[in-house]
């Protein structure tokens, strides 16, 4: 019996656990000089550390040449290096936490307030409605008063806190940005459907070598967890993902470009913080696509989670259960407040499309919903009276259902699923019986979210309050009940979008960029495939 000569680490045995350390190679630029190549293995220099912690390379072969030696560059791993690498999650997270945290925000606000007035940036904060719902549920659960506190009241109370105590100039919620996102999303869906139909008519089917021909089903783009996962492990899904920016990033564009112009400020004159139900929104904000090279600034400078905002509230001793003056008044601060989008608490992307299709249809359309296993996976059908299905869409939440979406989309569109280290099983492949697929209306849109129950149950949200009430010892059930509570609070208040039509026209005319793009991240965990 012979062992192969080209053993790889992974094939050797299964004892080795993955290295948790960063594997990014450190590049060193060698100074060019006329020195001869040294014997391999011969020590060329020593590294010295001075009092300030700086590293110096001290040459040995010069035989005690004077000199403090050459100061060495510190190897730096930026957040973007981490994001571009699937080597480890841990380093990326720790870098993130230091780069985008509530402490960072407080530090900025403090130093900003000390600047002379002309140099001061305008601090702006935008809060996601799911974050408001989480706070509303927590405050309602812990306060003695029987009447629940609505998301709108929370927003008003936060506005006072964020302006008066922390010094923010403006406090928005992100629902108006979402209104723009939904409009753009519907527009993109119609474009894609049009392209897919034209392609089908020209007989080419949905396939072009470049993969650019994969228009449908369109997959939602608002969830950064899903985007990250797709870019790292399912590049074949990228053409299907909507190019419409998420509400957070549209808010970024609105604040830095549109409002900036209104205020006569440059994008880098504004410091924009978003409060989100989700840690991965930090990743989204730091994508290079949302970095303005010209002004060296991001559309969203810093993302903090609901939980982090809660920590700040506690640290500053602010009690959200205490009403503020005029919190029930109608109030407009440049943007309309808390626009509701009926449908799902994760943004109603699917419902925006359904509602639009219903609106433009000449015949009345009926909607039917089919739950597949549980509430996290539902299929929606729009049909004309008497039969014909004109649209099929789905909402699909949670990592597990996401797997099934990837398999389903891969199967129906004929793209190969999986990439990277995962080998393809070649050899004999069984022919699958031809099914009636194709006869049926295929799913044209999927609202994909990485968290079970969607954004109200995001990783950055507050944990269940009042253990006993939610089932002591049965944390699992408690959490589900809690999520339901947050969901209720989410729908507790809000306004119709129609009132803002004039503003929408104005923004249309500003022609802001509402689209973005994605790219596959190649796995470069070479350490595991090292040839011995």
């Amino acid at each position: 019996m012979t062992f192969s000569g080209a053993l790889t680490l992974t094939d050797l045995n299964d004892f080795i656990t993955p290295s948790q350390a960063c594997i990014k190679p450190v590049e060193e630029i060698k100074p060019k000089n006329g020195q001869k190549e040294k014997e391999p293995g011969a020590a060329a220099s020593e590294i010295m550390i001075d009092g300030s912690g700086a590293y110096y390379e001290v040459s040995q072969d010069g035989g005690g040449t004077s000199g403090a030696g050459r100061r060495l560059e510190q190897a730096q791993i930026s957040l973007n290096d981490c994001l571009a690498c699937s080597g480890c999650i841990t380093s990326a997270e720790s870098v993130l936490i230091t780069l985008q945290s509530h402490e960072e925000v407080l530090k900025f606000l403090e130093s900003n307030s000390k600047e002379e007035e002309a140099k001061r940036k305008i601090p702006v904060v935008s809060i996601a409605p799911q974050a408001l719902a989480s706070l509303a549920a927590a405050v309602s659960a812990s306060s003695s008063s029987s009447a629940p506190i609505t998301a709108q009241q929370i927003l008003r109370r936060l506005r006072v806190f964020l302006k008066q105590t922390l010094g923010f100039a403006h406090v928005f919620d992100t629902t108006f940005a979402r209104e723009l996102a939904l409009r753009e999303h519907v527009k993109e869906f119609l474009e894609r459907r049009d392209k897919a139909r034209r392609q089908a008519e020209s007989g080419k089917e949905n396939q072009e070598p470049s993969g650019q021909g994969h228009f449908l089903p369109m997959l939602a783009s608002a969830c950064p967890g899903w985007i990250c996962y797709a870019e790292k492990t399912h590049a074949e899904m990228i053409p299907f993902i909507a190019n419409t920016k998420s509400p957070q990033q549209i808010m970024g564009t609105l604040v830095k470009e549109w409002m900036g112009k209104k205020w006569g400020k440059r994008p880098d004159d504004i410091y924009h913080v978003c409060v989100m139900p989700c840690y991965d929104k930090k990743l989204e904000a730091s994508r290079s696509d949302f970095y303005n090279e010209l002004y060296s600034t991001r559309d969203v400078d810093c993302v903090v989670t609901t939980g982090e905002l809660d920590v700040v509230l506690r640290d500053k001793g602010w009690d959200l259960s205490i009403p503020v003056d005029g919190e029930m008044d109608i109030e407009h601060e440049l943007l309309p407040e808390l626009i509701t989008h009926p449908g799902t608490s994760s943004g109603s992307y699917l419902h925006a499309i359904i509602n639009h299709l219903k609106k433009i249809s000449e015949k009345p359309l009926e909607i039917s919903v089919k739950q597949i296993r549980n509430a996290d996976y539902e299929e929606y059908e729009l049909r004309e009276e008497g039969g014909r299905v004109v649209f099929k869409g789905a909402k699909c939440y949670g990592f597990r259902n996401l797997q099934n979406v990837v398999r389903k989309v891969g199967r129906e569109s004929g793209v190969r699923v999986g990439m990277g280290a995962a080998g393809k099983l070649g050899g004999r492949v069984m022919r699958k019986k031809d099914k009636e697929e194709g006869q049926n209306q295929r799913i044209e849109y999927i609202e994909v979210m990485a968290c079970p129950s969607g954004c109200v149950n995001g990783g950055g949200q507050l944990k269940a309050v009042g253990g006993g009430e939610w089932g002591e010892g049965e944390v699992r059930w408690g959490n589900r009940e809690w999520t339901k509570r947050v969901e209720e609070m989410y729908w507790s208040s809000g306004n119709d979008a129609e009132q803002s039509s004039e503003l929408l026209r104005e923004i249309d005319e500003a022609e802001l960029g509402l689209r973005t793009s994605y790219r596959a991240v190649e796995s470069n965990v070479v350490g595991l495939a090292v040839k011995w």
Binding site: M1, D11, S86, R400, R407, L425, G426, R476
Partner: protein, 353 residues
């Protein structure tokens, strides 16, 4: 090592099956048909058949090999309870599903890939079918355990991804009757999973006690016990004391190195009250050990006696896997796979003086 004659049983080698070009990792007996499958770092699966000749002697012969197409080691195998489908777990991170398409005469033809399960990020280490055959579990160095539902047409739907272990997951094993899954890990623990009424899989309990990596798991045929093999050189026996509660009641000692594999069969012992069947274990010390377990009372640990011990079963090489044959009438057959690339079939029989 000359003590072997003191044991009431002995292991006799029925067949030595070469053919793998690199180490053999795992063996799996088809539960319905006379087929034994083995897999190897050479990325292939080899299938053998066995039958008794007129004189009661068992002949094992090579059937076919499947050049799986996995790009790395095939680490583990699992037959569906129907015996018609074979699943392969590979270091290339995928699970392969293999079936025989009928040939022109309607007879089972060549083994072909009927599907792949992708999702693990790194080496897939184990795969197992539930007793009903409707669920399949896999585990990986990526620390996750996945549960898939088998739907018609060799399709699969992901039912759950459990990220409970803090390290490499070495093995998954389904309860012989209920939909309860156990997993073993480099983090020294065993985890137990069930699904809730909404079809979500979650971890209900963590079994701690082993002092090092847990490599292999085997449920007792009656489902009331779980055996675990560990790098701490013990095989621990966990009794099910509640719906989802398990308690370590026994640690079988004796192995001098890591125990890589444990298997629990019905055996051919005396089927008296409290009889729990036969446990075989093997690992880095190259010795196969066989115990018989009996339940004495609900409060006492089961009694155990060593039936036999066979050193150097694969020469100087490590033994990666031992598995009892589950088929009626063949409960005394044990298969082993070793670092020598060889698969061996053993028969355990009482020592006659």
């Amino acid at each position: 090592m000359s003590m072997d004659e003191d044991f009431p049983y002995s292991l006799q080698q029925i067949a030595e099956l070469g053919g793998h070009e690199e180490r053999a990792w795992h063996v799996a007996w088809n539960p319905k048909r006379p087929i034994l499958a083995s897999c190897s770092a050479d990325k292939s699966v080899r299938l053998y058949t066995y039958r008794e000749d007129g004189e009661g002697k068992l002949n094992v012969s090579f059937l076919t090999s499947i050049p799986t197409g996995h790009t790395k080691t095939v680490r583990a195998l699992a037959w569906a309870p129907s015996g018609t489908t074979l699943a392969t777990a590979s270091f290339d991170s995928n699970v392969g599903i293999w079936e025989q398409e009928p040939d022109d005469d309607g007879e089972p033809g060549e083994w072909e890939c009927a599907g792949t399960l992708e999702g693990h990020e790194t080496e897939c280490k184990g795969v197992a079918y539930s007793s009903s055959g409707t669920l399949l579990a896999s585990c990986s160095r990526d620390k996750t355990v996945w549960v898939w539902e088998v739907v018609p047409d060799s399709e699969f739907e992901c039912m759950g991804v459990m990220m409970e272990h803090t390290q490499d997951v070495k093995c998954v094993a389904w309860h012989p009757k209920e939909e309860i899954l156990a997993s073993a890990s480099y983090d020294d623990t065993i985890k137990i999973y069930v699904d809730d009424p909404q079809d979500d899989w979650y971890c209900v309990s963590t079994l701690s006690g082993h002092e090092s990596t847990v490599w292999s798991l085997a449920w007792s045929p009656n489902g009331n016990y779980l055996a675990s093999a560990s790098d701490d050189r013990t095989v621990r026996i966990w009794r099910r004391v509640g719906q989802h509660d398990f308690k370590c009641v026994l640690a079988l000692q004796g192995h001098e190195r890591t125990v890589y594999s444990v298997t629990w069969g019905i055996g051919k012992g005396q089927q008296e009250e409290g009889y729990l069947g036969w446990i075989a274990s093997a690992g880095g010390d190259g010795t196969i050990r066989v115990w018989e377990l009996k339940e004495t009372s609900a409060s006492e640990p089961p009694s155990h006696r060593m039936l036999t011990r066979l050193p150097d079963a694969h020469g100087v090489y490590d033994i990666n896997s031992v598995v009892w044959c589950p088929r009626t009438g063949y409960e005394d057959l044990l298969a082993s796979a070793g670092d020598d690339g060889v698969v061996r079939v053993w028969k355990i029989a009482p020592v006659t003086v």
